[in-house]
């Protein structure tokens, strides 16, 4: 199973501006310290070995979109944030001339704007040979997608997209066989509710759990998530805020923290945690610092003799083999 992150930013797409890129270039050249590189390969070696990720790259700014690739004929993707545009183009590149007649399964955590805004730009939806299957716990998926593309918000109404659309309402606590995966659903605390999904295939499992708040009043609910995450190979988890922010000034904003992510994953015996839904006001350096702190927190609270929980920090373009 391969996981591809097409959009990992929370709430609002972002992009580094010219000043930030210039700052990275200046720091990278300073790190080179006047060295001469004899080949592009030597430069790449320097970049990969000596420059930290926020200097040599970027976490990216597309809003939520994650592909779950089990190697089957049908595509599976979670959420339709702005990252869906690039996923759509890549899926066409990958399938080439045999791309017609594909089925795209889209699992929706919820219908807030940052999770659906990529759909009007989803090229496969304009191909009449394709089928787009929307899976979600909300009743109003079709109505919300129509509204998003109505005048005066967008010039292309939903009906102009010629793919066949199907809407499949899923229910928490239930499991489904979809596109070669066994898919389980959990209800999450978020404004208007959200849903998390667990995908299992050939003994591998990944959980997509974003826009899910674990607040002070619902601490007795946490065993439910420990059970849902149990022994997963990877959990993709909303780590938008610090714990301090999540339970004070940003309480009831619908998001969680890196600390709660580590605790739940450790309790559930998860192998890998993928930090996701990054705070849009954070630049690459800030996200990276929170990532390093999360790795450290995992070390601090790991039970003696327990297997380490590997902590990853999602970036746009990231591929993870499960």
């Amino acid at each position: 199973m391969k996981i591809r992150i097409w959009g990992c930013r929370g709430s609002l797409p972002t992009a580094p501006n010219a000043r930030e890129v210039r700052g990275k270039v200046v720091q990278a050249l300073a790190m080179a310290g006047g060295r001469t590189f004899e080949s592009p390969a030597a430069i790449e070696q320097f970049v990969d070995a000596e420059l930290e990720f926020p200097l040599r790259g970027t976490y990216g700014g597309e809003s939520s979109c994650v592909e779950i690739d089990g190697g089957g004929e049908e595509f599976v993707v979670c959420d339709m944030g702005s990252g869906l545009r690039e996923f759509g183009l890549d899926s066409i590149r990958r399938t080439g001339s045999e791309g017609d007649g594909r089925v795209y399964n889209i699992f929706l955590s919820h219908l807030h704007w940052d999770h659906i805004m990529g759909f009007p730009f989803f090229t496969p939806a304009f191909n009449p040979a394709n089928t787009i299957r929307f899976h979600g716990g909300h009743e109003s998926i079709e109505a919300v997608l129509r509204r998003q593309q109505e005048d005066p918000c967008f010039p292309v109404p939903l009906d102009w997209m010629q793919a066949k659309f199907e809407f499949n309402r899923v229910r928490p606590g239930e499991s489904y066989e979809i596109a070669g995966f066994r898919v389980s659903v959990v209800e999450q605390h978020h404004h208007g509710l959200s849903y998390g999904y667990r995908f299992e295939e050939a003994g591998r499992s990944v959980v997509y759990s974003t826009d899910s708040e674990h607040n002070l009043e619902q601490m007795d609910q946490e065993q439910r998530f420990v059970d849902f995450f149990a022994n997963a190979d990877m959990v993709i988890f909303d780590t938008m805020y610090s714990l301090g922010d999540a339970i004070t000034i940003k309480q009831d904003w619908g998001h969680s923290s890196n600390i709660v992510a580590v605790d739940l994953c450790q309790l559930a015996g998860v192998r890998r945690l993928c930090m996701f839904h990054h705070e849009p006001i954070h630049n690459d350096r800030m996200i990276h610092d929170v990532f390093l702190e999360t790795v450290r927190y995992e070390e601090l609270v790991r039970r003696e003799g327990a297997e380490p929980l590997q902590v990853l920090c999602a970036y746009d373009g990231m591929e993870i083999e499960i």
Binding site: L216, M219, E222, S242, L243, G244, D245, I247, T248, S257, N258, I259, V260, V262, D263, L267, E293, T294, R296, Y297, L300, V301
Partner: protein
């Protein structure tokens, strides 16, 4: 996990011993919250010197207690964290919410 409370110069000092995680959080809440609720208008110091580590569940119990105390004009401070606890407090950003003192004596001496 155990909480023992003493009053020093009118300040309720809660000595927490043992780790706080999902297994012990309920007991921590059951022992700590009543101290806050009976300290209207006073200061409360949570002494962490006997705590090796605390997970998010324990930190959230502290926040619940602080929120309950706010309505009663109770002010809460943390004292005596070991190096690991100090890191946990910093990573969770609780150091932006609560005063953190090196010791109970330092907390008592602070205004």
């Amino acid at each position: 996990m155990e909480c023992n409370t003493e009053t020093i110069d009118g300040v309720a000092v809660v000595h927490l011993s043992g780790d706080v995680d999902m297994r012990s959080a309920n007991a921590f809440e059951a022992q700590f919250l009543p101290v806050i609720e009976s300290s209207a208008g006073k200061r409360v110091v949570l002494d962490l010197a006997g705590t090796r580590y605390m997970s998010s569940v324990g930190l959230r119990v502290i926040m619940k207690a602080a929120q309950a105390g706010r309505q009663l004009d109770v002010t809460l401070a943390l004292a005596g964290p070991n190096e690991d606890m100090r890191e946990i407090i910093q990573i969770s950003r609780f150091d932006k919410i609560f005063p953190v003192h090196d010791s109970v004596a330092a907390a008592l001496a602070a205004e």
